[in-house]
């Protein structure tokens, strides 16, 4: 059998408090009883109960103040507490006030009903009757005393002393005494033989005696008996007085005392009527205040205890709303609220577990995304992703490297917007935009455009992206700069052609030349002068053309042959000045702008000299007027590598758009005697040295070539 715990309805403090309040009220109630020994403590009990009320009022006020503060701060549970406390106070106060009002009314009416005119008159009559009875007895004793005084008048002190005894015996008095006006006792007789001295009058009686010549009054005797004291003058000159003490019968005394006690008691109660009402109302008010305030205070504590789990729940819910799922609330009671709290704890545990799982999944996705971003960032191909409206969402570093604009800075923009800001890329960007808009499937396109570094060729591949429901969500464009690759392929093809051409053409040239020379040698003597001369001209022409073809084939061989570089550190400035010196006699006017006079590059000096010769020769041949060549050297940085940028500008005719596309291709020339290999060899040498060369299209004064070579040291200008 399971044991069930019996819980007290409130804490021990509350029980003690109620016990103390009840005890104090009971003591005060007892103290109001006339016969109670607690009467002496009444005032203290009143003070204690008043203090208790004040303390309880303070506690209630403090709790109410705290509640108001909590309400202002909008703390959890404060509104529910306020509602419950208000309801309790209303429910407790209304009946208590009604009971108090009617109790006071009944009390006042009850007290008033004790008194009425008939009782007043009866009490007065009873007292008057008692007084009449006593006065009648006194009058009779006065008469009796005066008769005794008459008997003693004009007698000597000795006779008086003798007669006093018989008078006492006849009168039934307690004591008879004769004394002079100076207070000297002349004779006395008493019922108590032990009383040597009679009960002499005090100063007050003497005073009255001298004024009135006689005195009579009731005196309290010994043993709560009542006496009648009568003093009369024996002689007319008041030289001697007779005092007689008569006893009042015990029965009469008791009756008189009883009436006097009842009268006084009634008078006192009548006098205290208002005080009684006030006193009882005060006690009732104290009882009400103590009970009500104690109940309200206990209500505060109890309601706070009840609301505590709700408050915790509200706090917990707020914490969960703020994202704190670790909240575990204490289960205080195994009741409905406890069940609610337990359910809340289960809920937060599940949410926390789900959150952790989601967080782990998110972390995994994030890692994957970061991994993909890393891969994308390190791809050599540029990747740009778009949303459904073709706004740029992401772009990798390679896109910047290929397009030379920080595409990632334009996230949220469209390609046409980018094109308006970078007009040099407008052609390729608009082309990609057009392909994106048109394509419903994967597409691939080569796009050639003139970039800041010259002609570039991009291999673009676009992939539209679709959601699971088939809606277009965006697109991805992957592009790569295949300019160098295409050029290398072209170079390799041309090299192969050149090699084969040289091999196929050069071999028959020597027999042709030898045959021509033998014909000349054999036939010149046999022919007539005219024919001999014609033969000589013909054979000379053949030999000359064969020589020319040999040179052409040698050039082809030279272009096709892998280079054999002797790399060393050379000062590019010195090399340029050396080459310039060779052309000074030819009338070329050079102007230079060098950022430094010490630019060390690791290169083959022979090859570089050939580059310079080819470029200067080209400029010279392309110029009809006096040739002016400007040579610039500057330092540039690209992809964390320092380059020396060499610019060679002439004042010739310049290049048209068609020439720009094929200027570095082999066998492309605008000159009558050119082989078309000069710039192709230049480009080949530059690229073999890890550099690039392109036509500076921004220069309009003639033709301009820019080439960049890795620099070993770029000194300061001295």
């Amino acid at each position: 059998m399971a044991h069930s715990k019996i819980k007290l309805p409130a804490s021990a403090t509350i029980i003690l408090l109620f016990g103390f309040v009840l005890l104090s009220l009971q003591l005060m109630s007892s103290a109001t009883q006339e016969s109670s020994e607690l009467g002496e403590m009444y005032s203290w009990l009143l003070v204690i109960n008043t203090l208790g009320s004040v303390i309880l009022l303070g506690l209630v006020a403090f709790n109410a103040y705290s509640l108001v503060r909590e309400l202002k701060k909008k703390e959890a549970g404060s509104r529910l507490t306020t509602r419950m406390v208000s309801l309790f106070v209303l429910l407790a106060l209304a009946p208590a006030a009604i009971v108090f009002y009617f109790s006071v009314q009944f009390l006042h009416q009850g007290i008033d009903s004790w008194f009425n005119v008939e009782i007043d008159r009866a009490m007065d009559d009873a007292l008057e009757l008692s007084q009449s009875s006593l006065n009648q007895r006194m009058n009779w004793h006065i008469k009796q005393t005066k008769q005794m005084a008459d008997q003693l008048r004009d007698k000597s002190e000795a006779l008086i002393a003798m007669e006093v005894g018989s008078l006492w015996a006849d009168s039934g008095a307690l004591e008879i005494a004769v004394f002079s006006n100076q207070g000297r006792v002349l004779a006395s007789s008493s019922v108590n033989p032990s009383d040597i001295l009679p009960h002499l009058p005090d100063e007050q009686i003497w005073l009255l005696l001298r004024q009135n010549k006689e005195y009579f009054a009731f005196d309290p005797g010994d043993n709560d008996e009542m006496l009648v004291r009568i003093i009369v003058a024996i002689e007319a000159d008041q030289s001697r007085f007779l005092q007689v003490l008569f006893p009042i019968p015990v029965r009469v005394t008791d009756l008189a005392d009883s009436i006097e006690f009842a009268f006084i008691r009634y008078q006192e109660m009548n006098f205290l009527r208002d005080s009684l009402k006030t006193s009882f109302s005060l006690i009732l008010l104290l009882v009400l205040l103590l009970s009500l305030l104690a109940a309200i205070w206990v209500a505060f504590i109890s309601i706070r205890n009840i609301v505590a789990p709700v408050k915790e729940l509200v706090k917990g819910t707020q914490a969960v709303a703020d994202g704190d799922y670790q909240q575990q609330l204490p289960v205080m009671n195994q009741d409905d609220l406890g069940f609610l709290v337990e359910s809340f704890n289960q809920m937060t545990r599940r949410i926390a577990r789900s959150r952790d799982e989601t967080r782990a999944a998110g972390l995994e996705v994030e890692n994957q995304r970061a991994y993909l971003e890393t891969i994308l960032a390190n791809l050599t191909a540029g990747v740009i992703s778009f949303d459904a409206a073709f706004y740029i969402r992401t772009a990798n570093q390679a896109a910047y490297r290929i397009l030379h604009i920080p595409v990632s800075h334009f996230v949220g923009e469209t390609l046409p917007t980018l094109a308006t800001m970078h007009s040099e890329l407008a052609e390729v960007l608009n082309a990609i935009q057009s392909l994106l808009e048109k394509a419903d499937d994967i597409w691939e396109q080569r796009i050639v455009f003139l970039g800041p570094n010259g002609r570039q060729e991009l291999l673009c591949r676009g992939t539209p992206l679709f959601s699971q429901h088939g809606a277009r969500t965006g697109a991805v464009v992957v592009f790569d700069d295949v300019t160098d690759l295409i050029q290398a392929q072209k170079n390799a093809a041309w090299g192969e052609v050149a090699r084969r051409l040289a091999h196929e053409i050069k071999n028959p040239l020597t027999p042709i030349q030898l045959s021509a020379e033998r014909l000349q040698h054999k036939l010149s003597k046999e022919l007539q002068d005219g024919s001999a001369e014609f033969l000589q001209r013909g054979t000379r022409t053949i030999v000359q053309q064969v020589e020319a073809m040999k040179r052409m084939v040698d050039d082809f061989s030279e272009y096709a042959r892998p280079s054999k570089k002797q790399v060393e550190k050379i000062n590019l400035v010195d090399l340029i000045q050396e080459v310039m010196a060779l052309y000074l006699p030819s009338g070329i006017i050079f102007s230079t702008a060098f950022a430094s006079n010490r630019v060390l590059v690791e290169a083959d000096p022979v090859s570089l000299r050939q580059v310079l010769h080819n470029l200067i020769k080209n400029a010279q041949e392309a110029t009809t007027a006096p040739c002016r060549i400007e040579i610039k050297i500057a330092k540039v940085s690209r992809n964390n590598t320092d380059y020396v940028e060499l610019g060679i500008y002439d004042n010739g005719n310049g290049l048209n758009a068609e020439q720009l596309e094929t200027i570095f291709d082999p066998y492309v020339t605008s000159k009558a005697k050119g082989t078309g290999l000069g710039l192709a060899i230049v480009k080949k040498i530059v690229e073999e040295h890890g550099g690039v060369i392109w036509v500076d299209t921004s220069y309009n004064g003639g033709a301009g070539f820019l080439l960049q070579l890795p620099v070993f040291e770029f000194g300061n200008f001295k």
Binding site: Y42, S43, S130, Q204, P220, A256, E260, E268, L272, S279
Partner: protein
């Protein structure tokens, strides 16, 4: 012979509060008797209560103090309780003395005069008093509200008609 008094100490004035008019010591066999005279004044409310049968009680406290630097040392202390009541049947006023004796008076003034003349017949032992040492004789009378009927007590603490006590009155005493 002990000589006394001269100027009364600080007295608290009140409409109906009692006043200590004088106090002195009288050398008797084996010690010193205290004599004092108190001027009692009854408010109309107190008189009405008296005539309606309410007993009025005063506690007369007598102290002989030896002045000190910080506080006075009490050499002797004695309390005398007087109560006054109206006897309706006999139409007399009864004074209950501290010596368990009842005195009846025909008039209120006679009863008050009787109470006014305080004579503490319990002498202060002579050995407690040192020659040449200054002393203070302090007397006060305290109206005992706790002897009033219970319903009247709370009012008596608030209504100045019931402020019938006197303050401490002190007289320097020199041997």
């Amino acid at each position: 012979m002990i000589c006394l008094q001269i100027a009364p100490g600080v007295a608290e004035a009140g409409d109906y509060s009692a006043r200590i008019e004088y106090a002195d010591l009288e050398h008797v066999d084996g010690g010193y008797d205290v004599h004092a005279h108190i001027d009692y004044r009854l408010s109309p409310t107190a008189k009405e209560a008296l005539h309606k049968g309410v007993r009025l009680t005063w506690d007369v406290t007598i102290e002989l103090r030896q002045p000190g630097a910080l506080w006075d040392t009490i050499i002797h202390k004695h309390k005398l309780t007087y109560s006054l009541q109206f006897h309706a049947l006999l139409n007399q006023y009864v004074v209950q003395t501290p010596f368990d004796r009842s005195e009846m008076f025909l008039t209120l003034s006679a009863a008050m005069n009787f109470m006014a003349a305080v004579h503490d017949s319990t002498p202060i032992p002579a050995e407690r008093v040192t020659a040449g040492t200054p002393y203070l004789l302090a007397v006060k009378t305290q109206f005992n509200r706790e002897q009033l009927p219970i319903p009247l007590r709370p009012v008596a603490y608030l209504d100045n008609h019931w402020f019938l006590s006197s303050a401490w009155h002190t007289w320097p005493i020199q041997k």
